[in-house]
Amino acid sequence: MQPNTAAAVAPAYASDAIERSPGYWATVWQRFRRDPVAVGALVVISALILMAILAPWITPQDPYKGMALRRLRPPGTEGYLLGTDELGRDMLSRLMMGARLSLFMGVTPVLLAFLVGTSIGVAAGYVGGLLNTVLMRTIDVFFAFPSVLLAIALSGALGAGVTNGLISLTVVFIPPIARVAESVTTGVRARDFVEAARASGAGALSIIRHHVLGNVLGPILVYAMSLVAVSMILASGLSFLGLGVRPPEPEWGLMLNTLRTAIYTQPLLCALPGVMIFITSISFNLLTDGLRSAMDIKA
């Protein structure tokens, strides 16, 4: 390039002179904000997360300290807004503390499975051929088992405990995420812009980073978020069976289990942990739906 031409045209080509369109995610956020149900779900989830983080400091009573004299008080009892459980511990405090483990058990396995499953799926979808066959057929083996059964079997084999529960739930969620990742990647890979990137001499890693991930992460993320609710319910199920969290740790699934003996005397009290699970999982589902429709744009 000749220096004089560069000087003459430079202002028009300067970075700050360029008019920029809002990016894809900015547009998605604009659309998401206009969806009251989705925003409501986001607010509920944010509040639950905030409550879980702050639980040790804001619980009205000690969630671990029980008293035999005040067992199974109904909601509305003086000093115990939501009543007390079978060991006389404050229900409200335990539900607040329980949010920590329940949310952790809902989000963490999905997050881990998202990382592993996306890597597997994108690799299989982009490379194709033999690698695809080997990876996806291996994934298919896991699909042969119902997810609840697989989680129970893995937890049972690994032994009870939070860590083993996390591992077994992660393993349960890797196959579906990998399969979704593989199918969207295969679709993107066949598009002309990937061909054009190959024609410019770019290597596979560069193409995946710049051209594939930006187009596949959105749909995979939406799918993974829909699994958070499932993961919470499965985790509660494991705790219910005594395979996940162990007492006296408060966790909604476990609380549901220990309170079930009182179902005829205090039905409302027994339902409370279930209500929390319901609110959380429905919020995650509504959030996912809102995100999905916000992302459904031609861009």
Binding site: G23, E195, A196, S200
Partner: protein
Amino acid sequence: MMIATQSRLATSAPDHATPLLEVAGLIKHFPIKSGLFGRPSAVVRAVDDISFTVVEGETLGIVGESGCGKSTTARLLMHLIAADAGTIRLSGKTAGTSELPMKTYRSRVQMVFQDSYASLNPRMTIEDSIAYGPGVHGMAGDEAARRARRLLDRVGLDPKRFAGRYPHELSGGQRQRVNIARALALQPKLLILDEAVSALDKSIEAQVLNLLLDLKDEFGLTYIFISHDLEVVRFMANRVMVMYLGRVAEIGPANALYKASRHPYSTALLGSMLSMDPDHRTERAPLTGDPPNPINPPSGCRFHPRCTFAEPVCSTTVPVLAAAGNDHWAACHMAMLASGHSNAKDTAV
């Protein structure tokens, strides 16, 4: 940078002494897999032993019906799919060997795709899409961005307005200009235009064709222009290659071929063009039937089942490209002396 200096080297007349691209014996068969173990049960002979050269500064048009192997040829030339056999030499150096690594080859040969929307990443701004190629070849980000904006300006899009936009905000014609700028960003010598204007409106198509002609002069480019539109090819090309079922039927100077084609298929294909004069409209279909299945192509000359001049020799012997005039070759027994065809005559000058 070379963008400005290249324009000084612009060549308007093809120099026949220097072939830029030499393609020899290119073959691509796609296996059709079936059965339990995916063993190929048949092959589609998409490109079956084609050879041609492209001279520096010229435009070679490639025409043919759908499925004749035009686009497969383009993808083979770009190495987007691996050839089963054959060599591609650029300026005398074989592509994919140590003398011309594939990455270098791909910076010298670039391609513009038919679908202007699908060939741009929807999540990238126009500027980033154009600057991606130079970045891959080691250019710093801001320098690549400046080149992208300069090229946008050159293809007739104001960088100020368009550089920060996303593909869906542009019209088809604008997007195809972006694709051309993207292809030029690597400063190629050869540009493969695979139905690059076919999806555009006629008025936009004319603008883009004129832009392509200007760019060719300015940057000293050589074009391979693939199209099913015979009028457009006549407008753009110096030489034309007619393909039929994965083979070269005829190749020669555009004028000679359009005026006096030597292969009955070319004649039929050109006969299908609509005349601008309503008194000279084609009354009967010049060619009947569909192209035969490339999975099981006819023996001998692949065109013989549809050819009005077919004789026994046509179904037994494969015709080779025979000289049919000055730099004009046709794969027809009628163009070959002593081929056994009753119309055979030697017309080589």
